[in-house]
């Protein structure tokens, strides 16, 4: 009997020491680890970006040699996508989804532990693939770009093998995390919490999870075939052996295009909470928004070849992919209108998360416009592989994914830590990042249209001014993140006590179960299922 009581006590308190983290099956602890991991990788990927921009400050070679430069470009993308955005979004899902739907934890808590702990291993492999080039005899660095197209990726050295194994681990991790999230949403909702009552963030992650389950395995299969071509004498991608390098492009982009929605959707989910909260109005058109996301999910799976217009597909195939791609801008545009209508006649206040949300709507729409330009085949034949594409996807991904996550961080920090963040610093951070982001990437539209190719260490003298503006913007953008780090640490350490529901409008139009818990919530959220009105 006394043993039972002891057990009780033991389990209500978090275990002490490293075991709390290493053996954790608690959704909040795992969420915290995901978020910290993402923050670390943000600085790793950011350091790579700073090196890239420092090198591009002037034409010619200054800091890094061409192969190292291209390896940095490769790893910057992989670190930011797989190491930063996806883990940060998964961390928010872990923290918030069980609390939003009134579940005691994730559906499969042990698998949750494993999904997280594969990530540090994958990160070590990925960084090893960068640094292995400094060991003599390991061959050419991974100079392929994140798309790792053969035949180049078959020819480069040991770094590619490490990268492939890293992608395997990342893939397994995100497939398991997605299975967990989808299962949680389907099975663990509190009585009365129907799917159509869930906060938009849950729906966004539901579709994200399904997308990942469908496309990540294809990437894993593709890179495994690459591994076979490299070492086991197959010729999947080698024309001389009856294979076809273009097959890899199809496999990669069947993953790669849906992947951009994987990065986008969780942030759209955050906007679906932030905008109603600070407009003090229910979300405009909740149901249509769910359908738009479903439409995006379905259409997103069948438009991948717009990344390969230049490979010489038949006219019919090209036309199909062009029309499909242009169609995608319809649900994206409608989502934006729904957010604008949510703000319409609301009583808006401009806290940091809301500032980010409004800026996202403006800047992300801009990416939608350049996206439609790129979708048009004859135009894309000009733009492809220039800085115009770089500008397009940074406008899509930094507002569309990264700033959405920042909005989420500021929106939920009070809930996570129990302290309010410093609003004044938050606003300074907002203006600093937003302005320096635009300074960095806006000029790249022009250098791209003027013909500057991407992924090249050197450039023609005519592009100097645009590149210098870009580099200055990038340094300022990088620097702003030290402030971000400072704000987070300061909030974790102390500050004004946060109420259970720190935002006045937080529960408008949604059940808002997460706000019924204290800030910070207890170690076990809902030991008895909550009731939904």
């Amino acid at each position: 009997m006394s043993a039972v009581i002891h057990e009780d006590h033991h389990h209500d308190e978090p275990p002490r020491g490293f075991k709390r983290w290493l053996y954790s099956t608690n959704h909040k602890d795992i969420g915290t680890m995901y978020l910290i991991f993402a923050l670390v990788m943000l600085f790793v990927g950011g350091a790579m970006a700073m090196l890239i921009r420092a090198e591009l400050f002037l034409p010619g070679l200054q800091i890094v040699n061409p192969d190292l430069y291209n390896n940095l470009v490769t790893d910057h993308a992989l670190v930011m996508i797989f190491g930063m955005v996806m883990p940060a979004a998964a961390g928010m899902a872990n923290w918030m989804i069980p609390m939003m739907i009134g579940a005691p934890d994730m559906a499969l808590p042990r698998m949750n532990n494993m999904s997280f702990w594969l990530l540090p291993a994958a990160a070590i492999l990925l960084l090893a693939s960068l640094f292995v080039q400094f060991i003599p005899g390991t061959g050419v660095p991974v100079n392929t770009g994140w798309t790792i197209y053969p035949p180049l990726s078959v020819q480069v050295g040991l770094g590619m093998d490490l990268l492939i194994f890293s992608v395997h681990l990342l893939g397994i991790s995100s497939i398991m995390a997605s299975i967990n999230i989808v299962t949680t949403i389907l099975n663990m909702r509190a009585p009365g919490m129907t799917m159509m009552k869930m906060p938009l963030f849950c729906w966004a992650w539901f579709f994200t999870g399904l997308l990942l389950i469908i496309v990540m395995p294809v990437l894993a299969g593709g890179v495994t075939m690459l591994l076979f071509d490299r070492h086991f004498g197959t010729s999947f991608f080698d024309a001389a052996g009856g294979g076809d390098p273009v097959l890899f492009q199809h496999l990669f982009w069947f993953f790669g295009h849906p992947e951009v929605y994987v990065l986008l959707l969780p942030s759209i989910g955050v906007l679906g909470l932030v905008i109603p909260t600070f407009s003090r109005k229910p979300l405009f058109g909740y149901k249509p928004l769910v359908y738009f996301m479903g439409f995006l999910f379905a259409l997103g799976l069948v438009v991948w070849a717009h990344h390969q217009y230049t490979i010489g597909m038949s006219l019919g195939v090209t036309t199909y992919f062009m029309i499909g791609t242009i169609l995608i801008s319809i649900p994206i545009g409608l989502m934006i209108f729904n957010f604008i209508f949510t703000m319409w006649r609301g009583s808006i206040t401009f806290e940091t998360p809301m500032l980010f949300a409004i800026a996202i709507i403006l800047m992300f729409s801009f990416a939608g416009v350049t996206g439609v330009m790129l979708a048009v085949v004859p135009a894309d034949l000009q733009y492809h592989d220039t800085y115009f594409v770089v500008a397009h996807f940074h406008y899509a991904l930094i507002p569309g994914a990264v700033f959405g996550l920042y909005a989420g961080v500021f929106y939920w920090l009070p809930k996570w830590t129990g302290h309010m963040y410093d609003e004044k610093l938050g606003k300074i951070f907002f203006w600093w990042t937003t302005l320096s982001f635009n300074l960095t990437f806006f000029p790249q539209h022009f250098s791209g249209l003027a013909g500057m190719p991407r992924r090249i260490v050197d450039y023609n003298i005519q592009y100097v001014e645009f590149n210098q503006i870009s580099s200055i913007g990038a340094f300022a953008f990088g620097l702003s993140h030290l402030l971000f780090l400072y704000i987070i640490i300061k909030t974790v350490k102390g500050g004004e006590k946060a109420a259970d529901k720190p935002w006045e409008g937080a529960q408008i139009g949604t059940p808002g179960l997460e706000w019924t818990l204290p800030s910070p919530p207890p170690f076990h959220s809902f030991t008895t299922p909550p009731k939904i009105q």
Binding site: E7, D8, H10, H11, D12, P104, A107, L108, M111, I175, S178, I179, N180, V182, T183, L186, N187, M188, I213, I214, V215, M216, P217, V218, A220, G221, G222, M225, G233, T234, S235, F236, G241, G242, G243, L247, L251, H524, T527, T528, P529
Partner: protein, 45 residues
């Protein structure tokens, strides 16, 4: 085990269903993963 009986019942109820759904989703993932390999038959090994 550690929480009160109400949750315990609910947890027990869901465990099987959770694993079932996870297995179905895992099967989907596995089948897409092996699809590209069917190109193997076209290969000169």
């Amino acid at each position: 085990m550690n929480e009160n009986t109400e949750t315990q019942i609910e947890k027990k109820d869901m465990r099987k269903a959770n694993i079932m759904i996870a297995l179905i989703l895992g099967l989907i993932a596995f089948s897409v993963a092996i699809m590209p390999f069917f190109y193997l038959r076209d290969q000169v090994m």
